[in-house]
């Protein structure tokens, strides 16, 4: 079982590594957008009437992390192969395989994100670390914070894949891959704090955001990194992430089984 | 009248080698290999001819078609078709030609066939009366009546190819380029397509230039073939001419009473041999068939003899071998 997942995994990483030009282009694009966001935040901070709940330095670091780990946190990723399987009804073949479909697809999506992030995050992180202030990416205060960041980032990644599995499952109903992705991605992007960091939102909005899983995938890890959240908050958050992850995977499996049963009844 | 004279075309293909080091290097400096796709190709085609253009994959067939249809500009040489140089006055020239790429569709996937046709009418600016007339004729001869209102995605491959051909004839071109028109079709559809090509050639005098890998297409349609290999024109002439020049081999299958002694026929080669049957290949330029049979009957007691001419398919394979392409 594990072996099947691993080989799906390795195949994806190899494929991702082949598209070097795409990776270079991606890095350049991320830099451009990063600088733009930083400049916009700078402009807002320049004449602030009250003291904002996050320092400019923290917001800038947040922005660079967002650009570097985009592949970990975006909901826009699409795997046309999987969509094709669903909309064409060829999913029936997939069901002949001995492995559980949820697990296989999960591994495939996870691998795509990992390979794409591996190629793109290091150059961005390295360069932003040596940029002149105030553009620099500021490292966390101590090693423990950094370790915690890695932990919550990875659990966040597992969560985002679980959420994107829900997108794929929703296509069974909507039969419109682009529609499903957009619906999730547009709200997800905002609710994860990718448009503006959660602390900068008004109070009532923050309540909504905190009640939903999205912010655990991006806003939370990044604020652990910047020290905006304390270590104890990070640990509590890690537990919350784990609970969400279990819930999302369980939900996904239940919905998937339901959807597949329907496919079988309809005869594909 | 189509005149092609001394057309040459060289492509530069970037060298790609595996490995990260090379990938980085190639970002700054790329090495190219020159591939000569066409070398000094010349031929004449008279109005109303059907010409089969054949050769193995990568020989330069589609490059020639692309040059002749104005898509590609050659490095050297001249080409005059209906008084135009295809690549110089593209917009005016292409009004006179129809092109079918067998592997790609020119019809809009999600709408009924008739809608695609009407858009093509507008693209080519065909007057309504003339369009009506051409369409009626095409629908009749290609038997499209029942599928005109079906979206293209629901058509079978054979139906689609018939529509593709009709689509490229809506503006009544006098020259039709067909790039593998029968690829992937079943036997019935192939015959229908061939029949139709023959028909419009006869009725409307359309000059047809077709590339294909199916030699039956050639035998059924073409008066003349052009054989291209490695970018050079190797043969230009009739199918029967090809046969007399290359198809000089005959296969003799002989059945006889049991005979364990090996056969020996001068000038012929034994393809297979059992104590009851032998299959022999004879080159008629070296040995006459009658001589071979005489020699045979002197060695065994013959029961039955059949003589087969080589299928054109084999001739082509043989030619490919001979020219090392």
């Amino acid at each position: 079982m594990m072996k099947a997942y691993l080989s799906v995994f390795r195949l994806r990483i190899n494929m991702g590594l082949q598209y070097r030009a795409a990776a270079l282009a991606g890095i350049a694009t991320q830099f451009f957008f990063g600088f733009m966001f930083v400049m916009i935040f700078q402009a807002f901070y320049a004449h602030s009437v009250s003291t904002p709940p996050m320092t400019l330095a923290a917001v800038i670091t947040y922005t660079w992390l967002k650009q570097a780990f985009l592949a970990f946190i975006m909901l826009w990723f699409r795997d046309n192969e999987l969509f094709g399987l669903i909309t064409s009804g060829n999913i029936a073949y997939e069901m002949c395989r001995p492995s559980d479909i949820y697990g296989l697809w999960y591994a495939k999506l996870l691998a795509t994100r990992l390979s794409s992030a591996l190629l793109r995050c290091f150059p961005i992180l390295l360069i932003t670390l040596i940029l002149p202030r105030p553009y620099r990416l500021e490292l966390p205060a101590d090693l423990l914070t950094f370790v915690l960041f890695i932990a919550v980032l990875l659990v966040g990644l597992l969560m985002i894949v679980a959420i994107s599995m829900l997108i794929y499952i929703s296509v069974f109903v909507t039969m419109s891959p682009s529609g499903s992705i957009m619906l999730f991605a547009i709200f997800g992007e905002f609710l994860s704090g990718l448009i503006i960091p959660v602390p900068l939102m008004p109070g009532w909005m923050q309540h909504i955001v905190n009640a939903l899983p999205f912010h655990w995938t991006a806003d939370f890890p990044f604020r652990v990194f910047t020290g905006d959240l304390s270590k104890s908050e990070a640990l509590v958050g890690l537990a919350a992430q784990a609970a969400w992850l279990i819930g999302l995977v369980a939900l996904g499996k239940i919905l998937m089984n339901k959807a597949l049963r329907r496919v079988v009844v309809q005869g594909g | 009248m189509i005149t092609v004279e001394g057309i040459s075309k060289t492509f530069l293909v970037a060298k790609r080698e595996p490995g990260l080091k090379h990938a980085v290097k190639s970002l700054f400096h790329r090495e190219y290999t020159a591939v000569e796709a066409l070398q000094d190709i010349s031929f004449l085609i008279a109005p109303g001819e059907i010409v089969g253009y054949i050769g193995p994959n990568g020989a330069g067939k589609s490059t020639t078609i692309k040059v002749m249809s104005g898509i590609l500009v050659p490095d050297r040489g001249s080409c005059t078709i209906k008084g135009f140089t295809p690549w110089l006055d593209r917009v005016n020239y292409v009004k006179h030609i129809g092109v079918v790429f067998g592997q790609r569709s020119q019809l809009w996937w999600d709408v009924p066939v008739i809608d695609s046709f009407e858009l093509l009418r507008d693209i080519y600016n065909v007057p309504q009366a003339e369009y009506k007339k051409t369409l009626t004729l095409l629908v009749e001869t290609l038997d499209l009546g029942s599928i005109m209102n079906t979206p293209v995605r629901q058509l079978s491959l054979g139906q689609r190819m018939r529509c593709e051909i009709a689509a490229s004839l809506l503006h009544s071109p006098s020259i039709l380029f067909l790039d593998e028109p029968t690829i992937g079709l079943d036997a019935v559809s192939k015959i229908a397509v061939r029949h139709f090509i023959k028909e419009i050639n006869k009725e409307k005098g359309v000059t047809v230039i077709l590339t294909t890998h199916d030699m039956n297409d050639i035998e059924a349609l073409a008066d003349r073939i052009l054989l291209i290999g490695k970018g050079t024109l190797l043969y230009d002439g009739s199918v029967s001419g090809l046969r007399s020049r290359f198809g000089t081999r005959r296969t003799i299958t002989a059945d006889y009473h049991e005979n364990t002694k090996p056969l020996e026929i001068p000038g012929a080669s034994l393809l297979s041999w059992t104590p009851e049957r032998a299959i022999i290949s004879v080159d008629t330029e070296q040995v006459m068939i009658s001589e071979a049979i005489t020699s045979l009957s002197s060695q065994v007691e013959l029961l039955d003899v059949t003589i087969d001419t080589q299928p054109i398919e084999d001739i082509i394979v043989q030619m490919y071998k001979e020219y090392e392409i």
Binding site: A21, S176 | L72
Partner: protein
């Protein structure tokens, strides 16, 4: 032009074959600028102002940009997805038809669902225009209309440029996003909030400032930009299409000599 509408009608008919999906997409498309705009709104709620610009002023800037961009995406989408036409070899098909390649590529694709986005942005535009502290004169209205028109032309030009890259290479085309999506994001805000070099780039290389920032100053009567010529600046932006079309022509010529 007539042909272009024919293409449009045809593709609309195709799209209507999948009505449910189309309606969902239209709805989603109108959400995209909505959440971005919500972000802008929240930032103003938190910070009060942006280097002296009020919320409604920035909203106007945002709306002009979004209207122009979504209009372009709706009608010039063919250039946006052009690389697939080259990769699949279907560009050859366009070359054997007796029409200009630009018209045919334009007609190859329409993204009607973007109308959702267009409508929402247009709503914001009208709303912001009615809320800003400016005395509207006929010339200012003309300026506003010209801003949108010229914005469409510049975005189309950028799409054409980006598409022309595929004549040489189809790898790493993501870079073109810097100028399409990136350009849009940038000029959603008044250009003077950025560094000088950004402002210069978007004034002299890609003349976005002429369609957005400078006429906006005139409409708002800011920074001494009260000369009526400011209202006509967007016309300069329209000139930008010329070099883009030239590059396209060079690209087509390159394609026809290499067949790549």
């Amino acid at each position: 032009m007539k042909l272009y509408f024919k293409y449009m009608l045809m593709l609309l008919r195709s799209e209507m074959q999948y009505r449910g999906s189309f309606l969902l997409m239209t709805f989603c498309q109108c959400l995209t600028p909505f959440v971005t705009f919500a972000g802008v709104y929240f930032m103003f709620e938190r910070f009060g102002e942006l280097k002296g610009w009020s919320f409604y002023e920035v909203a106007l800037c945002f709306a002009v940009t979004q209207v122009a961009f979504s209009f372009t995406e709706c009608f010039a989408r063919g250039f946006d997805v052009f690389s697939s036409l080259v990769v699949s070899g279907n560009f050859d098909r366009l070359l054997v038809r007796p029409r200009s390649t630009v018209v045919q590529v334009l007609g190859s694709r329409f993204e009607f669902a973007r109308i959702g986005r267009l409508l929402l942005s247009a709503g914001v535009l009208v709303w912001a225009a009615s809320q800003i502290e400016a005395s509207w004169t006929p010339l200012k209205v003309v300026a506003l209309v010209l801003m949108v028109v010229s914005g469409v032309v510049i975005f189309t030009g950028i799409f054409i440029l980006a598409a022309a890259i595929s004549f040489w290479t189809v790898q790493g085309l993501e870079v073109a996003n810097i100028f399409t999506d990136g350009g849009r994001e940038m000029i959603q805000y008044p250009l003077n909030i950025y560094h000088k070099w950004v402002k210069r780039f978007f004034t002299f290389i890609i003349p976005f400032a002429c369609v957005n920032y400078l006429p906006l100053l005139y409409i708002l009567g800011r920074d001494g930009a009260d000369h009526p010529l400011y209202a006509l600046l967007p016309l300069i932006g329209i000139v930008f299409i010329a070099p883009c079309l030239l590059v396209w022509r060079i690209g087509v010529r390159h394609y026809r000599s290499t067949g790549s």
